[in-house]
């Protein structure tokens, strides 16, 4: 009964010091662990910047050596940030529209109905990756067939692990996006590439490099995170059929259930910032140009705010989690992610009565001082109608 559990490796350090340390390719990161510190630091974009000169440095592990394109609006700070965010925000709110949700529903139903016919199904590659990729065609408003290419990339595309190989892998995505932008430039359509190419900022058109920056963010930000969320949800419901039954009988708790799963899973462990002036965090001196990270996963287990932080309380009513970040740079794809989870869970409770875990291999992130289970490398299950 604990295969779906995601233990909290940060508790002791959070209580004793409030931060941890990670080397990360000789560019050390101070990992902030307490909810209040994380939120306060996330709000203070002047002292803890995202839009510094070194592109990719706020990501942990750092992408400085494998990426030259600035992710937009993610790696831009106010006031320019708002000009970019205003362009993309309405597009990323489309998941609130009915026809968008109908498309997601059809994707989830087809994949879940298919899963019910199998004696054994590997969830990461054959379920979560498939739904994530197909749902991304709805977000981008591109042809459904494009999802086949993204599924073929597998789950290990654009991982940075300090080897040239990963840089090469990242290039698969960057070259693909360049190609798609060129297609959209020649034959504009109703997709996100075309929409961005036609957008204006401060009285001029977005450059192709800026469009690429938005597209990289959209692809990279919503891949592992969504895959882990879906996979962890399947593992959780396999071990907690009572929660599946409860959501079916009390659909009014669906939103609370989704927020709670997202709190507990914290699919993005942390995100960095570069310090712009000598300062102090958590009573600890920080030098200008050093790095901190905001550990969403630890903050979500802070017992000062969350009762029973290590339990999934499926109808948790007050849940100020930071899984989608906090402040200026909060997750652009959150509406898509929440809507997708709503659709998947609704389909699941209507069609599936129980799920059996057959075997599994955990995915453990290595943060030097901390090892955190973030999901699964593989999860074989059987769905029962």
């Amino acid at each position: 009964m604990n295969k779906s559990a995601l233990p909290d490796p940060f508790e002791q350090a959070r209580l004793e010091k409030g931060f941890g340390e990670m080397n990360d390719q000789n560019d050390p990161v101070k990992i902030l662990l307490r909810l209040k510190d994380v939120r306060k630091t996330a709000k203070n974009w002047k002292t803890f910047q995202s839009g510094g000169e070194e592109i990719g440095r706020i990501v942990v592990p750092s992408e400085v050596h494998i990426r030259n394109t600035r992710q937009i609006p993610f790696e831009v700070d106010p006031p320019q940030h708002a000009s970019y965010r205003d362009i993309v925000e309405p597009w990323f709110k489309r998941p609130l529209e009915n026809d968008y949700q109908d498309k997601l529903k059809s994707i989830a139903e087809t994949v879940i109905e298919g899963a019910l016919t199998k004696d054994s199904l590997e969830i990461v590659e054959q379920f979560s990756l498939v739904i994530q990729s197909q749902a991304l065609t709805v977000l981008l408003n591109t042809p459904f067939e494009e999802s086949k290419t993204w599924i073929d990339w597998g789950t290990h595309v654009f991982r940075s692990e300090e080897s040239a190989l990963d840089g090469d892998k990242a290039n698969i995505l960057y070259d693909y996006i360049d190609h798609q932008i060129n297609i959209a430039e020649q034959n504009p359509s109703d997709d996100l590439y075309s929409k961005l190419l036609a957008s204006e900022i401060d009285g001029r058109k977005l450059t192709k490099e800026e469009v690429k920056g938005v597209m990289i963010l959209t692809f990279a930000g919503g891949r592992d995170t969504v895959i882990n969320t879906i996979t962890n949800a399947i593992a959780y419901f396999a071990e907690h059929p009572e929660s599946l039954a409860r959501i079916k009988n009390e659909p009014e708790i669906l939103n609370q259930a989704i927020e709670e799963l997202i709190r507990y899973f914290a699919p993005l462990t942390h995100m960095g910032r570069v310090v712009t002036q000598d300062t102090e965090v958590c009573e600890h001196a920080m030098k200008s140009q050093s790095r901190v990270s905001l550990c969403w996963a630890s903050a979500n287990r802070d017992a000062k705010t969350f009762e029973k932080p290590n339990e999934v309380v499926i109808d948790r009513k007050i849940n100020p989690h930071v899984s989608f970040g906090f402040g200026t740079h909060n997750c652009l794809g959150a509406t898509h992610a929440r809507t997708l989870m709503k659709v998947i869970l609704t389909t699941l409770v209507n069609k599936v009565s129980s799920i059996d875990i057959l075997d599994h291999e955990d995915n453990i992130e290595d943060l030097d001082q901390f090892k955190r289970k973030v999901g699964f490398h593989s999860l074989n299950v059987k769905f029962n109608a």
Partner: protein, 103 residues
Amino acid sequence: MAKITFITTNNEEITLEATTGSVMELAVQNNIKGIDGDCGGVCSCATCHVHVKEEDFEKVGAPSEIEADMLELEDEVSDYSRLCCQIKVSDAIDGVTLKVVEE
């Protein structure tokens, strides 16, 4: 039944009636500009920030500690700030006026 008046950032006054649910839900259902309620009402996103009219604040009540921690970091926080997902619709708040705070 409670009548609740919202004043949007462009000074439009909209009065709505409800019996159950949260004030955020009422606002979202009626497309009150500036109230997004992204997290669906679990006090996580701060996209439902309002300033309660001073004379109505007692009726509405003060925020909980968790809500106050969220509000503390908002740019436009005041002594009368609330996240309206945490305000339940009931007879007790009949007639209150809430000014929408847009970030």
